[in-house]
């Protein structure tokens, strides 16, 4: 389902060229649960950004669900992001002036879905994540765990095929972090591909497949069967 070939990403930092990704080949099938691990600066976030079409590789090809995304223009890429990819971030990235409900509604609004249809789907989704009683609250009135649930609700409302999570427990205490992980694993069990970047080895162990990145290369790609 996901096929990266010969991906290169070079950043210009001052005079220096930094190779964030060097000849990365990577593939994932539908429904996989993958943890990308590695030290800071190893390129794991860059890889996730490229998977999420938030960044363009300098070279190489990326195929998602049969679409050669590296050939698409900005508008078409935006469309792929909208319908196929859900993001969960470390800092939640909720819009502070919008209520939980409005934050979750945002992808539907951007897609131009009708108001009535939107309301229905938002209520359903928020209920499903156990924050049905928090719809009118703004992010600063929610706990960290609740915020991340809102963010996950937002990431899943368009029924994406893949969820990309970047240190999604990094800003949460252990128990709410666990809740969030369980929610994501639940989604994974329903067949959504889950790819997460994490520093946390505990979290890494839970994934069925672990990728270790060092210096812009995939150094280790292990299936973890006992999980």
């Amino acid at each position: 389902m996901i096929r990266l070939q010969q991906i290169q990403r070079v950043f210009q930092v001052g005079e220096e060229e930094v190779h964030a990704l060097r000849d990365v080949d990577f593939g994932a099938d539908k429904g996989e649960y993958i943890a990308i691990m590695g030290p800071s600066g190893s390129g794991k976030s860059t890889l996730l950004n490229i998977l999420g079409l938030l960044d363009r590789p300098d070279d190489g090809t990326y195929e998602l669900d049969g679409i050669m995304t590296t050939d698409l223009n900005d508008k078409e890429q935006a469309n792929v992001r909208r319908h196929k990819i859900g993001f969960v971030f470390q800092f939640f990235h909720l819009v502070p002036r919008l209520t939980a409900e409005q934050n979750v509604e945002l992808p539907l609004v951007l897609a131009g879905v009708d108001r009535a249809e939107r309301k229905k789907r938002v209520v359903e989704t928020l209920e499903a994540f156990g924050i049905g009683d928090r719809v009118k609250h703004r992010p600063d009135q929610l706990s960290g765990g609740q915020r991340q649930r809102v963010a996950i609700a937002r990431a899943t409302i368009m029924k994406p095929t893949v969820i990309l999570a970047d240190e999604h427990t990094g800003n949460l205490d252990r128990s709410s972090g666990n809740d969030v992980v369980e929610i994501l694993e639940g989604l994974n069990n329903q067949g959504i591909t889950l790819i997460m970047v994490t520093h946390d080895p505990e979290l890494g162990k839970r994934a069925r497949r672990r990728i270790k990145m060092v210096d812009g290369r995939i150094e280790e790609d292990k299936k973890n069967n006992q999980a």
Binding site: D55, K75, R82, F87, G112
Partner: protein, 401 residues
Amino acid sequence: MQTSDIAAFSIQAATASRGRTILTLLAMAIGVSSVILLISLGDSGRRYVMDQFASLGTNLLIVIPGRSETTGGPPPLLGETPRDLTLDDAIALKQSTAIRRVAPIIAGSAPISFKQLEREMIVLGSSADLFEARRLTMGQGSFLPPGDLDRGGNFCVIGSKGKTELFGNNQALGKWLRIGDRRFRVIGVLADTGVSLGEDLGEVVIIPVATAQSLFNRVSLFRIVVEAVNEDAVGRAKKAILSIIKARHEGEDDITVITQDAVLATFDKIFRTLTLTVGGIAAISLVVAGIMIMNIMLVAISNRRSEIGLLKALGAARSQIMGLFLTESALLSTAGAFFGFILAFSAMKLLAGFFPEYNLALVPWSPFIASGLALGTGIIFGVFPARRAAMLEPALSLSRR
């Protein structure tokens, strides 16, 4: 994205940061209201002057010595000086059936004194016809009596302001005042009509034209005010004046006849230019408001970097982001223009209350100017920030908190 959603999103974004929104609205409101106000004031001024002219009667012609237009032909070998307009020229004009009144005018200034008070005033030498031709009204007494133009007399009519300055609240009629080295009896005081045609008739003294000739020791007239029998006769009167004077001046076309129409057209043109000029100057404040909108949008964008990155991650294309931010600045400036319009409207009402005689009013197309200017500034100054927002790298803007 649906239009109502774009609007709702932008309104929410604008109202979320109240301080910056209020400041922007204020700047925009001031800019728009000053443009509307200045244009309207200019326009009101124009209408005021036009009305003044119209009230003078549109069948007036003014004859001045000298020619302001050339009619072609070789230049004269010997230097040519225009002949003076004389009293006899004025008398001759009365032959024409198209002309009802002829009022010759000699103007000069002279010290006017009564007892120990002395003022420098404009002295007009004219005739009884001036009264009707210029639609003057008397406050007290009577105007110069009709009679032969070349008969003078030691009497004068004084403007209301001049009367107050020389006589205070005392009776002026029948008093003798001194103009230069001659004595004149006051037979009338003009009504206080304020400034008309740019001439303040409050501070003039009018004496018989023949007396003025000897007072200033000058035969030539300053001009002749001619009233045609009616508006349709103005053209005929003009032709008659030209031919009569030409015959009297040995075949030379050496006068200029100004009709009210020409004067009106000139004033109209001057006032329109003036209005546009002040409007243009006011537009500078609009540019300032526009730059303020741009500045504030740029700040907003750098504050909302992560939001922009998020929108992109959620599937917003560059064009959509650009649309959102352009809508926001257009909304800000339109709302500002709306307040500006209200501001201008109430300021004008207030001014009109203070100066009812000027008939002040907003120009009828001012709402269109306001909205046009607002959208223009909002969009022109919104494009750059919106483009910047659209071009943000989502990966970079999301990596920061």
